[in-house]
């Protein structure tokens, strides 16, 4: 699944560790999501959406 997580994170000048701490996951998880090697669970996707104050579909986009 494609996502804009890196773009959104860097726009806020957060490190991966900062984002990991705010969402209660490891830095490796944040990195794996950003590099699109791992698709987050629905609860984590909602947590990220709430954090960035955006609807989920503006962060994640299924591959066509």
């Amino acid at each position: 699944m494609k996502n804009r997580l890196r773009e959104l994170r860097t726009a806020r000048e957060w490190s991966q560790a900062d984002l990991a701490e705010q969402t209660g996951v490891s830095r490796q998880t944040v990195n794996a999501i950003e590099t699109e090697r791992y698709d987050p669970s629905l609860p984590l996707a909602f947590k990220l959406a709430r954090l960035f104050k955006l609807p989920i579909e503006e962060i994640f986009e299924p591959e066509k």
Partner: protein, 147 residues
């Protein structure tokens, strides 16, 4: 936000934490020590009654169960990606060990291969070593996928 359990806190390296390591592994250490002690005791007291010998022989099982409980709790405290990595590595270790055990018993059935130490399966030491080695290998393989 609660910090998730991280595997690097129980592995050698700069993030290693003795406290986290002991919280996870103390029951495994107790189980191994009890297994060694029970073997020595059973060798020295062959005159003991069968129920007593059985109780001594099975004594490492209780700390082993407690170890399984601490591993389950540790995995439950991880974040979703780490949990997935650890569960896949555990599955790899379990299936691998079952595969090795089955292969050994098949080879024994053929009769061509005769390894005296393995005539009755891997034993607890062999099973433990196989699970641990395959778990480490599985961890490396699964981790590479998400690096």
């Amino acid at each position: 936000m609660n910090k998730p359990n991280l595997p690097e806190t129980v592995q050698p390296g700069k993030h290693y934490s003795f406290r986290a390591d002991m919280k996870l592994n103390i029951w495994a250490i107790v189980a191994v020590l009890l297994a060694v002690v029970s073997r020595i005791v059973l060798d020295r007291h062959q005159d003991w009654s069968t129920p007593l010998r059985a109780a001594v022989a099975l004594s490492p099982l209780l700390p082993s169960l407690l170890y399984v409980r601490s591993v389950a709790r540790w995995i439950r405290g991880m974040d979703e990606l780490q949990r997935r990595i650890q569960l896949e590595a555990c599955l790899f270790a379990m299936i691998g060990t079952a595969f090795i055990t089955t292969a050994l018993s098949m080879l024994e059935g053929v009769g061509g291969i005769h390894i005296s130490r393995l005539q009755h399966g891997l034993g607890w030491e062999g099973t433990f070593a196989s699970v641990m080695l395959l778990y480490i290998l599985g961890n490396l393989i699964v981790n590479r996928r998400f690096k």
